[in-house]
Amino acid sequence: MKRITCFIGVLLLLSFIGLKVSSTIFTYPEYWPKPIYDFSKNPVTEEGFQLGRTLFYDPRLSKDNTISCASCHLQASGFTHIDHDLSHGIEGKIGTRNSLAIMNTAWSSSFMWDGGINHLEVQALAPLTSEVEMAETLENVVRKLDTIPFYKDLFYKAFQDSTITGQRVLLGLTQFTIMLNTYNSKYDKYIRKEEGGEFTAQEKNGLKLFKENCTSCHREPLFANNEFKNNGLAVDMTLNDYGRMKITQDSEDSLKFKVPTLRNIQFTKPYMHDGRFETLQEVITHYTNGIQHSETLADELKEAIVLTSNEKVDLLVFLHTLTDKGFLFDKRFSFPRELITQK
């Protein structure tokens, strides 16, 4: 009897292995922390990634078919809206915040400047439905995609079922955005002692200054810490944006915003939640000379950061080592040509 049970058990296991379709293509450096995203329910496959990539670049996701995710998240600028303090949506409507860069999303515990979104899979709902962004509904996106044979095929490849649902649109988008990983900057090569990672004396000093003054919030290796801080910016009276307080309705969260990653910071300008600083020099000067003191100011900024002008330059030079050109110009993340040829 025992033998038979054992035999059935083994066969059961075999049948399960046989049914397993494909494994994840998501990779990261082994010395990095474990991702926060739970891949078990949505393992990343090449097919899912390609579906997500097509959706990401498709303007059909907006109400009047004019704007895609990529309109405000351009690859060459680390998937943010370069040169726009506030992003604009359909019909030229202007939003209230600077679009965030999309990088290393698997390590984020919340999304948006105020952390209002608690899971990557539902993040896309915010820009999709915002009246000043894509102004569309997920229900209608499903309806639109459902009429396009090309998409039926993409969904079939990704989910072994051509039925298009809201959940699958979101899971597909997730499989693209979660692959936007950057870990091959000069800094990374320096850490891994790889070729091309030799730091100059200036860069080394910049890293030292960074560790002394910035790293408590912009923590390595992600250069973010999944927290919300008031970094001493004066309130812009034209926006009156109090950040995280809107979500938690707690006055202790007044003026707190997500600590963004500094990876590829050289190209993600302008800076801050309202895009008020055009250059990194302005940002550094804000931290040394511009901090506005208020009840909720981050403890880390209560004591003034003092840097000489030479040190400021060194810090800036170090920040440039966080640029990952391989990521910014990776063809796998760029506009899929099929989107034009296939209707």
Binding site: I8, L11, L12, L14, S15, G18, D38, K41, N42, M112, G116, I117, N118, H119, L120, E121, V122, L125, A126, L128, T129, S130, T137, L138, E139, V141, V142, T165, G166, Q167, V169, L170, L171, T174, I247, Q249
Partner: protein
Amino acid sequence: MKDKLKTISCLLFFMFFSILLFSQQVKEELNIMIEPVFNGEKLRKGYWYISKTGDSIQFKKVKFYLTDFKFELTNNTYHEINKNYCLIDVFNDETLFKSLKIPKDKKIKEVYFSLGVKGSLSESGAHSRDLDPANGMYWAWQSGYINMKIEGVSPNCPARKNKFTFHIGGFQEPYPTLRKLSFPVSHNQKKLTLVVDIATFFDDIILKENHSVMIPGEEASGLANTSVKMFSLKE
């Protein structure tokens, strides 16, 4: 060879699975009907109703989640229905009838269910079927399910186009909006009718003053308490 082995293993797997199924208790169907009314009168789209506070009301949308049905049986055991999330749209008859499997030859003493979606589902990304965010019952700017939507018009309502909008949701302390309900069952064991009297929701609402709730918080939590009173069991 490999294919053969796969076929055999699959066959055996299904045999094993069927044995498992048959060894389970014998089940029978229990039908649950949802009956939306306004002061006892059948709720219809495009009809005018008058609330206790004197507001004339016409409904455009009434949707809510009924989840996690559980039955207490007379032998003091519980029968839970797993992953049972029903989005009820009072103007879509298809959603007003639910058929659940319960153990045969066991009497039901009490029925338990929740009004709303449990918090863990609001924190775990995109779900399917009735929980698919494409149903419009998921907040975009602040993650979480909307447990109930009541929308319509009233001449007394000062909002744009006289519209009132109540979106009740939020899962985080101190203002979670999920509510648990239970009703004793005595006679009919095959069919339960849940009456939902929308009039109750408006008993303390004066639309001229209060016509819009669309964020989690104290107000939503208070309205969730009121919502519970809309439900009664008719056997």
